[in-house]
Amino acid sequence: MVKTKIKYEDQEQVVKKTPKTGADLLIESLIDAEVDTLFGYPGGAVLPIFDALYKVKESFNQVLARHEQGSIHAAEGYARVSGKPGVVIATSGPGATNLVTGIADAMMDSLPLVVFTGQVAQGVIGTDAFQEADVMGITTPITKQNYQVRSIKDLPRVVKEAFHIASTGRPGPVVVDIPKDLAANPCEDHYDTDFNLPGYQPTIKPNPIQIKKIGEVLATAKKPVILTGAGIVISKASEEIKAFVEEHQIPVASTLLGLGAFPGEHPLFLGMAGMHGTYAANKAIYECDVLINIGARFDDRLTGNLDHFAPSAIVAHIDIDPAEIGKNVTTHIPVVADAKLALNKMLKQIKATGDYGEWVEHVERNKQNFPLWYNNPETDMIAQWVIDQVYKTTKGDAIVTTDVGQHQMWSAQYYKFNKPNRWVTSGGLGTMGFGFPAAIGAQLAAPDDTVVAIVGDGGFQMTLQELSILQERGLPVKIIIVNNAALGMVRQWQEKFYEKRYSESVFSIQPDFVKLAEAYNIKGAKIDNQADLAKKLPELIAYDGPVLIDCRVLQQENVYPMIAPGKGIHEMIGVKP
């Protein structure tokens, strides 16, 4: 055995030079895949992998969350902001099952993730060994693809395939389950990595005939609307959508996840549509005669009652996933394509011949007459106002992450995103506890940007252990706890639909969040009135380091407008009188 001295920090260690193992091979594959950040949590079955990582410490920015759920939500935030796959490593059994929420979340919101899970050694798989869980069985329905590596020669190929699948077509999570013995055992220097996926050839180029059809309906349309979805963000088509909208002067409504795809302050932007969408956006979808959906999946929170969704519209749907087209809404012009390629083709092929002047005037009148609104109290704070202040203080330029619920909807309503990849929220799965760890990943992906985690007091308490990372990694994340001492959205539904029976939705005891922040050596502030927030927020946001702001807001505020379950998109309640 050759002995080499490796100097690491202050300690000098003697590391035996050992033959190459499966774990080393995995690390090489990660380097080949240009991974720079790893969200890993060690454990028994991944000891060989973490040992191999130890030897190449400088190759990756390794982030140790304090719970695997924190690791994977951070990886999701990283993926959403950087557009690159987030990479997670967790151990077998509980390590893997703790990732399940994040994997399902990434699947719903089309986030590219490559998740490595340790597995017990091959000899004991299937014997209910210590920390064994059927990761393949558990993750099959919530992954785009999953693998259990059974032969070391497959490992480099599988890793390459996993990154390819996660990040192309409609992105999604891919799980690679690696038995401990494969990672630990010696292996050869090199294996073939060529892969062939005949069953996976995403259609990215639009069919010109379909694009022509869109042109034809636009030429005769009187009241067209474009619906922008996350597909535009993923395919980096923000320039193209803006150019197309401006050339044709078509009003734009957005989905929750599509926010930022088209500038939020643009005169033709009507706001988010759906259950808590703006009056102008919902009404435009209800009244339009042509609806062009680009990269959205017609989720039920967007459409409301399908019988009343765009009832008189010719629907064109551009989506890279053919299974989304016609799934919920009858589609007249299906276009299977990457949003950017489709928009480029549309820009080239479709000339602006339609005249929608009257329609644009009409929808803009709606926008002026029925804006989002709230009654601001004298001194106390309400969440809408707080988020409005955050928007103004950060000049709409921050990366904002949220959990799910009232604060999420208010953030979507009042924070106007002018750029893509700056809005990180759990849309499809609606995961509490997502926002704060996602902010960590977002900050790592964009170290120079202001990252604000707007979280509820309920959701924050699900993943607050990740406060450890902020000080440890020097991440200046700004946490705004919209603290109404309740599970606001649950409370709202109980008020509206369960005759105010607030079953388990109001917290009788809250931690002292400022002390909690201090326990983690983080600057904390509690603010309970408007004057204080207005005065302190600018300096707290500008502070060079992590900050937790406990914003005490009034509990009884509800998110409006609202489409009650089962109602149509035009049947909004709580519209500005």
């Binding site: 999953n146 069953g199 299974a323």
Partner: protein, 174 residues
Amino acid sequence: MRRIITATVQNRSGVLNRITGLLQKRQFNIESISVGRTEVEGVSKITIVVDVDASQKLEQVTKQLNKQIDVLKVSDITDKAIVARELALIKIVSNSQLRAEIQGIIEPFRAIVIDVSKDSLSIQVTGKSEKVEALIDLLRPYGIKELARTGLTAFQRGQQPQALQENNSFSLLN
């Protein structure tokens, strides 16, 4: 409506789980499913008989199946000219006096006796599901001790009548 869907898939561990899982998740009832290797090494063929109530749902089944990485091709062959067969093994109560009588029943079905014991008789029948059903119904009065069916397996005939070929396209690409 009952639809016969075939899928050629990469023969990889977990594929069947992924397919049955997705059908279950999207609430499609599987009437039968059969899997086996094909003429191409590493490629298997799955024949699924599902019960769907609307054509929009049917389109979803084929699209969701197609979306799977390891699925190579999905076809709804219900309305095509196809050959579809299943095999059933039927063990019935029998004795030496009844054997000839049973032989007379199964012969028109081109079924054969594959096992005989003192008090039972095992019959093998292959054919369309309706034919198998018919034989089972005829044998039921004798007392069926055990019944095993493979489920349908099918493919398209070598030659397709022209008219039928057109009305079964769910492709979005044209």
